[in-house]
């Protein structure tokens, strides 16, 4: 029952989060923007469409949509949202590596159609995620050390709460996670999903040949990933919200996600996309931050 609530919440809130991000961005750049529910409408439209499948594509292309969405769903099932109990409690290293499975199929599907755009996107996506991996691991190591547990839900819920000034390392880790959120979810300083030029894209170039149902699954997976990362990063700052009863915890979680969405939107509106060669220094900074957080823990 709890699991059902957890998954339903994730599925229902994830597109809304993307909607909040877009709305904030539009608001800050003095546009009206699409309605908050636009991501739902997009998904509904795509699920009712047929697909155009490239003649060069193999079964990997057909499998990519389900695997990408399935991977994102299992990831969401391991991420605490409104309480420490999750449907699938997962070791943090396992959690990080599980992100590789959908990515493996997605990057391969990008190469499968033989399109130069797909290859371009896949290559960049793989490189970005490879360089993000150490930072993510160090950040979660830091949390696991602070919370003295192995599973994601376990250590997030037992983080020392309230005393942000006594534990500056939690801020550093939250910062690292936010940088990673931006890098791993194709957000603006790293990647711009809304340009008209495919050559400059990372994620969108990779899924250019997907249509209809497949595209809907991939978009849903992207919404879910954004929600998963937001839930992680925000619960580091407000670990107390994970110890509430579901009655209070669910609104608290929604508030946290909404805050995160506004923050992402503000960053997107306020920054310009970096050159591709700047992404590596960006991720290195994330790694350095995470390792300082760990050093602080072992010192203090």
């Amino acid at each position: 029952m709890e699991s059902l609530l957890h998954m339903t919440l994730f599925l229902a809130l994830a597109p809304l989060l993307s909607g909040i991000v877009r709305k904030t961005k539009a608001f800050l750049s003095c546009r009206r923007g699409a309605p908050l529910a636009q991501p739902y409408l997009d998904l509904w439209k795509l699920f009712r469409r047929g697909i155009v499948r490239s003649t060069t594509a193999s079964w990997i292309f057909d499998l990519s949509g389900p695997v990408v969405l399935g991977g994102a769903l299992v990831l969401a099932a391991a991420t605490p949202l409104y309480g420490r109990e999750v449907p699938i409690p997962m070791h943090f290293v396992f959690y990080i590596y599980l992100m590789a499975l959908p990515r493996f199929f997605q990057t391969l599907a990008g190469l499968d159609t033989g399109s130069a755009f797909g290859g371009l996107g896949s290559s960049r996506e793989a490189a970005v995620s490879a360089m993000a991996e150490p930072a993510l691991l160090l950040a979660l190591c830091g949390l696991a050390h602070l919370g003295a547990a192995d599973s994601i839900g376990g250590f997030l819920a037992s983080l020392p709460s309230g005393s942000v000034f006594r534990h500056p390392e939690t801020i550093l880790i939250a910062g690292t996670l936010f940088l990673l959120l931006i890098a791993e979810n194709a957000r603006i300083p790293v990647d711009d999903p809304t340009t008209h030029l495919e050559l400059t894209m990372i994620h969108e170039a990779m899924v250019l040949d997907h249509a209809g149902v497949d595209l809907a699954m991939i978009q849903m997976a992207s919404h879910l990933r954004l929600a998963v990362f937001s839930a992680l990063a925000s619960s580091v700052l407000f670990p107390h919200s994970l110890t509430l009863t579901p009655g209070l915890g669910v609104p608290a979680a929604m508030l946290r996600l909404a805050l995160c969405g506004v923050l992402i939107g503000a960053v997107e509106a306020g920054t310009a996309r970096m050159k591709l060669s700047r992404v590596a220094p960006f991720l290195m900074v994330a790694t350095v931050l995470a390792s300082i957080a760990l050093a602080l823990q072992y010192a203090g």
Binding site: L69, H91, S115
Partner: protein, 656 residues
Amino acid sequence: MPSALSYVLAFAFVFPGVLALLVRDPRRSRIVGFGGGAAASFLGLSMTLAGAAQGKTVRFPLPAPVPWTVSELYMDGLSAFFLALIFLLGFLASVYAVGYMREFDEGRRGQSAPLFFNLLLLSMALVVSAGDMLSFLLGWEGMSLSSYFLVVFEHERAEARRAGLIYLVATHIGTGGILVAFLSLVRQTGSFSFNGFAAVPFADPALLAATFGFALLGFGTKAGMFPFHIWLPYAHPEAPSPVSALMSGVMIKMGVYGIVRFLFYLLPGAPASFGGVVIVLGLLSGVFGVLYAIAQHDVKRLLAFHSVENVGIILLGVGAASVCLAQGQAGAARILLAGGLFHTLNHALFKGLLFMGGGSVFQGTHTRNIERMGGLMRGMPLTGLTFLIGSMAISAVPPLNGFASEFEIYRGLWEAAGKGGVSPGLLITAMAGLALIGGLAFVCFVKVVGTVFLGTARSPQAAAARDPATSMAFPMGALALLCVAFGVAPALALDPIRSLLPIGPVSLPVSPPPETAGTFTVAAALCAVVGGLCLLRFFLLRRNGKQAAGTWACGFAYSTPRMQYTATSFADPVIHVFRGLLRPHTVREERAKGRFLTEIQFDTHVLDLFENGIYLPLYRLFLRLAFLARRLHPGYIHLYLGYILGTVVILLVLFR
């Protein structure tokens, strides 16, 4: 295994090899030689498993190869593990070779291969079951020589001869190191047998360190550990594919065996710094191995560099286990050593699989350059599927076996550093390094699978390639199944491995930790969700319709398959980031006719920094010294007699 059986086993390996030389018909020769080897390996595997099930060390004396010494074979837990590894992969590689070596039927060029192949298997078995220094070295030399003959198997090609020479020199430098380490042990303990070595602890720490250093040099060279790895990317690609599979999957693990044997058995009370050195070298092997692999276009060379990477991961686990043991964390040490050995097994499985897949692709396309392949998933669906599984395993994608063992290593590292507080700086750096290695391996294998099997064929040969015959398909399928099985249910392999270990309380941590979900649960959840979504997609598509069209090219058409993304371009973002370490070398030539550019040739490759920066200058220095030394013997007999006189005088004066 009783003494008589081991003679039977030796005979079972050698006899078919000799017979294969004598049979005239090349096809029968293959079947007799490699089939015999497969049968002998199967016999060996069942004997090992039966022996290991009894769970005690078996030892028996043999007639000594050298007079006045006692030689003995023994099989303890560690030996049993490695014996099982050798015979398992030996069996599958032999079956694969029956089909693969057909290539050499013409002119009966392949007649000698079974003999060396079987001798290689037999000598490796001798290495891991040797109970004393002399039989160990006998096995070690036999292994080096038989594999040398397999590397130069296609000796009509200059590259093969060059690779063979590099291999021969490297392996003998390694043997030299091992010999020095053993002699130091003999001098210290006065015994030739391993039991004798282990019985007497070292008194002098400097001598202990020197002994370990020489052992690390020797075994590290064989294992392909950084910075002694340079022979590996030359030798492995030149050998025929089943041999590459065996060399990469099993033979380099003999180096790992040696390091484990020294650290945990022969040098009791090794200090933590030894393990620290092994960790650092393992990390460097991992990072450099995978970085160089990303830059390769030759599929077998690429796989060879990945062997360097994976040996790095294994050594990371083994070294960390030693550090933990020295600091009194037996529990973490146990997880780490089991993880390292599990990765040894897993690497043998997926690397064997990948080399076999690479061999099938090579037979289909007659090129090793991945830029000339593409779209092979159509013509070779089985090879494609198994290669994909192998690639996911080596990139540590769950729920496959590569992840299962890396997870154990992570878990041990975290158990020690995060909870136990054992040298957190080093061990957490090791974790971050492992994560980087995993991410980069991911890039590399998406590149390989994408360019080799997906898209459209880049050459007519690639378009015509077909799946290989059953004898080659069977081992690939079996290995792929094992990769999945050990990934989904790691306990299948981990429990036996743990029961063989010499350290720690036996009741220690199960995997995964009880409060988190295991691979099996996650795999089941994934299967259910992905299966459901596939069904959903199927029904939606039946309702909404699906149409086929050419790949979208902005309203144009892709006129040639060469417009696809290439492997070089795919690797470029990573190479660009690490260009300071890799120093990519780019040649760009432009040809113009009149005012118009007609042709641009672009070539980029990465040279091994250590090969060119350290080994080549060393080699030149050595050569110069050799030329100097040559002046000492100009060929006059009188001068030589004078040398003898001088030597006698000096000896008499200086040493009474």
